[in-house]
């Protein structure tokens, strides 16, 4: 199908934005804020995506999912990876943050609320305040900087005793 300018671009953008993240399927790419641009080049829809974490295995899956979704909708599609400017967790939308919390993952601090993250500190044993996604208590402790996926760290709530994932501020 030959793409027909603005109506098609809008349709293609909607499709790309609504593709779910393979590891956090309750989040769409729009929630994650990784779709930079959807445009048209001749008869081909070009979707530009920014990878979240360099070594994250989900990155190539996401690119394939976007390509497949656009192709299935009848578009000639091309997906381009854009490395610069680098994605940060500040690009996760408010809806995305709420969805993380609803799914038991404490959302990342934003740069404006976390001087520690903004300075990208390498100070050892530094503590950041992470609120429990279940009971909102800030009486929590870090179990490990690393979790089940590259974007998460493991915490435990000392108030309701639930362990939980924290989406790392990047």
């Amino acid at each position: 199908m030959v793409a027909k300018r603005s109506a098609d671009i809008n349709a293609a953008r909607t499709i790309a934005l609504s593709v779910p993240d393979p590891e956090l399927p309750f989040l769409t790419l729009e929630d994650l804020g990784i779709v930079r641009n959807v445009s048209i080049d001749g008869d081909t829809i070009v979707a530009k995506l920014t990878p979240t974490y360099i070594g994250c295995p989900a990155v190539s899956v996401i690119e394939k999912d976007v390509f497949d979704a656009l192709t299935k909708a009848g578009f000639n599609a091309r997906v381009i990876r854009v490395d610069s400017p680098a994605w940060t967790t500040d690009w996760i939308t408010d809806t995305g943050r709420q969805k993380l919390k609803d799914n038991g993952i404490s959302p990342p601090e934003t740069k404006s609320t976390s001087p520690l993250a903004a300075k990208n500190t390498i100070a050892l044993f530094s503590q950041r305040t992470v609120a429990c996604p279940h009971c909102d208590s800030t009486n929590t402790e870090k179990l490990s900087e690393f979790g089940s996926t590259p974007c998460k760290a493991q915490y435990r709530c000392l108030h309701c005793r639930e362990p939980f994932d924290h989406f790392k501020c990047h």
Partner: protein, 250 residues
């Protein structure tokens, strides 16, 4: 094509691939579950950065090679990683210390690369610096726990320092290709990185109650393709699939 830049990019890419491979060897063998997650995570960071660097190397070279050709289909003498990253895992103390030594170098490197005149490397630097900061914190905290822990943990981390410290000077070597890159504003001066590295290591070792050794004899050669005996064994595992089943994909 800039052969000097290609050479330097392959050196850095090889550091990341080989250290990532070493780290991945721990998968399923860590002393506790959290570490079994953290070490493969660090391996993923390393290999992810290596992939970006190899892809860039292939672009610079422009001979139709891909990241996989660089990673899997070269011979040992063609790998230009420093010797530190190919040292065997040893015990947990060795592995944490090796990662700290490398991360303490790469963190100021990527920070300085924010101002690089090379657009691709500059873009990578903004992602990589955040990932490597985690490595310094995680490994640094372990060095402190081990050094300031039990008699046995203290002895083990000291043994690791004795074994690995002589491999750290090679991180700061400057060959003619790197010098060309430094002069073009692509790479930062190594002396500047050395200062930051010394400070990071001094602080962590002080907290860990271990001494920074004076090494009069430093190991070197990897940057020129001269590797240790362990490297051949590493490559035979890393390359096994592509050598046994050439061109296989999945």
């Amino acid at each position: 094509m800039n052969p000097a830049l290609l050479h330097s990019v392959v050196q850095i890419a090889d550091d990341h691939l080989i250290l990532g491979h070493r780290m991945s060897e721990w998968c399923g063998h860590a002393p506790m579950l959290e570490e079994d997650l953290s070490m493969p995570n660090m391996a993923l960071d390393m290999i992810g950065q290596a992939r970006t660097l190899y892809t860039y190397a292939a672009t610079i070279e422009n001979q139709g090679r891909t990241e996989d050709d660089f990673a899997y289909l070269r011979n040992d003498r063609e790998y230009l990683n420093c010797l530190l990253v190919e040292r065997p895992n040893g015990d947990f103390a060795h592995t944490m210390l090796r990662q700290l030594y490398f991360a303490a170098y790469m963190h100021p490197f990527w920070e300085a690369m924010h101002k690089s005149t090379d657009n691709t490397l500059q873009a990578l630097s903004f992602k990589a610096v955040k990932e490597i900061a985690y490595h310094i914190r995680h490994c640094g905290e372990w060095i402190v726990r081990l050094g300031d822990g039990t008699d046995e943990s203290h002895e083990r981390i000291n043994n690791a320092v004795s074994a690995l410290h002589p491999y750290t000077a090679e991180l700061f070597e400057v060959d003619e290709q790197r010098l060309a890159g430094i002069e073009l504003g692509i790479f930062p001066a190594q002396a500047q990185l050395r200062q930051v590295w010394d400070k990071t290591i001094d602080q962590i070792f002080h907290q860990a109650k271990i001494k920074v050794p004076r090494t009069d004899f430093n190991q070197s050669g990897g940057r020129k393709g001269l590797h240790t005996e362990d490297f051949g064994l590493l490559l035979s595992q890393l390359q096994y699939l592509q050598r046994a089943y050439p061109g296989s994909t999945w």
